[in-house]
């Protein structure tokens, strides 16, 4: 593999590992509603570190030591960012996401707390029910500034956040696939 190729992959994976480690330690202090905000902040912080590190490293690498290869260097940096972004996204959605939001996993967790005894449906609902599910999500949407709350009513804001982006992609996919 060419040294540039190795550099792009190594720098992207190093940044992803840094993101995962910083996020892992930050989780001890982050409240549950603020998780999404902190994911974005940590991602951006690591992306800035990644940018400066990659620029310094690329400047010293042949054949990027001269100005004429600025576009190629920028392209390598862009691909490195793309790989970093996608691996971080997949980590959040596949590893952290189910732990944070999965209803099925929570039901299993509740049943595990009384294992080997079981719970009836009503007993499960006393610990985990629609009100808990909705309130948690409203708190997260409020923290992510997707909704506003005046003390009584919640209102949707037209702000482009992670939820809006994913909703947009899912809607487009539904149009094409169904």
């Amino acid at each position: 593999m060419h040294s540039l190729d190795l550099f792009v992959i190594k720098s992207a994976l190093t940044s992803f590992l840094l993101f995962a480690v910083v996020f892992f330690f930050a989780l001890r202090w982050i409240s549950q509603p603020a998780v999404l905000n902190w994911i974005v902040r940590i991602f951006v912080l690591v992306a800035i570190i990644h940018f400066f590190h990659a620029v310094i490293a690329l400047r010293g690498m042949s054949p990027f030591a001269s100005q004429t290869n600025l576009f190629a260097a920028s392209f390598c940096l862009l691909i490195s960012f793309v790989i970093y972004g996608l691996t971080s996204f997949l980590y959040i959605i596949c590893i952290f996401g189910p732990f944070e939001t999965s209803v099925r996993s929570r039901i299993l967790r509740e049943l595990c707390s009384c294992y080997p005894e079981g719970f009836s449906y009503q007993q499960i609902l006393t610990k985990y029910n629609n009100r808990v599910i909705i309130q948690r999500r409203l708190d997260k949407l409020l923290c992510a500034s997707k909704v506003s709350f005046d003390g009584q009513f919640y209102r949707l804001k037209k702000k482009m956040t992670f939820f809006s982006l994913t909703e947009f992609f899912v809607k487009q996919m539904k149009r094409w696939l169904q």
Binding site: H2, L4, D5, L6, V8, I9, A12, F24, L27, R28, Q32, N69, A72, F75, C76, I79, S80, V82, I83, L86, F89, I93, F99, E100, T101, S102, R104, S105, I107, L108, R109, L111, C112, Y115, P116, G118, F119, S120, Y121, L125, N129, N130, R131, V132, I133, I134, Q135, R136, R137, K140, V147, F153, Y154, R155, L156, F163, E167, F169, V170, L177
Partner: protein
């Protein structure tokens, strides 16, 4: 750049093939196995072209920026894009409570917690998921009570491990 372009082209072709298969399928449900085979086929063809194909096809040394030799990165980009596509495809089939809440809030200018609780009952949020866990044998039902199966205990153990690892209780 040409290698990344090739990778993106393969991604688009795989997605188009998957969309075509989805339109041909009459029954509802996820086409995960055909997707996985398409992904592997695309990956194999891409890797063949990048690593085993003739070098002079792209005339790398003469093309300049187009010849930036990012073969490994091209493969990584293809795999990551396919994984993201699958996540969105899977997400399309599963209705998350957050999505339903946002849909309800889009229909009315202002909603209270009680409005949402009234519209999203336990029977629509919890019961279908319990039935799904029963269907996939993560839990079993004896009389009126639900119990974890061996499979369910394994998953619950992973959740407990995550709680210790992240030093926070599970969400849900």
């Amino acid at each position: 750049m040409i290698f990344i372009t090739l990778s993106l082209l393969f991604f688009c072709l795989t997605v188009i093939a998957h969309v075509f298969l989805c339109h041909r399928q009459k029954a509802a449900g996820l086409l995960t196995r055909p997707f996985f085979y398409l992904f592997l086929l695309g990956l194999a063809l891409l890797m063949f072209l990048l690593f085993l194909g003739p070098e002079d096809v792209f005339a790398l040394k003469k093309i300049g920026m187009w010849g930036v030799p990012l073969k490994g990165s091209a493969v990584a980009v293809y795999i990551l894009f396919m994984a993201c596509y699958f996540i969105f495809y899977f997400g399309m089939q599963v209705e998350s409570p957050t999505r339903r809440m946002i849909q309800l809030m889009e229909k009315k200018p202002a909603v209270s917690l009680e409005d949402l609780v009234g519209q999203m009952s336990n029977d629509s949020l919890i019961l279908p998921r319990i039935n799904d866990l029963l269907k996939h044998e993560y839990i079993r039902k004896e009389g009126e009570r639900y119990f974890l199966t061996t499979r369910g205990v394994r998953v619950a153990s992973i959740v407990k491990f995550y709680e210790k690892l992240f030093s926070r209780p599970m969400g849900g």
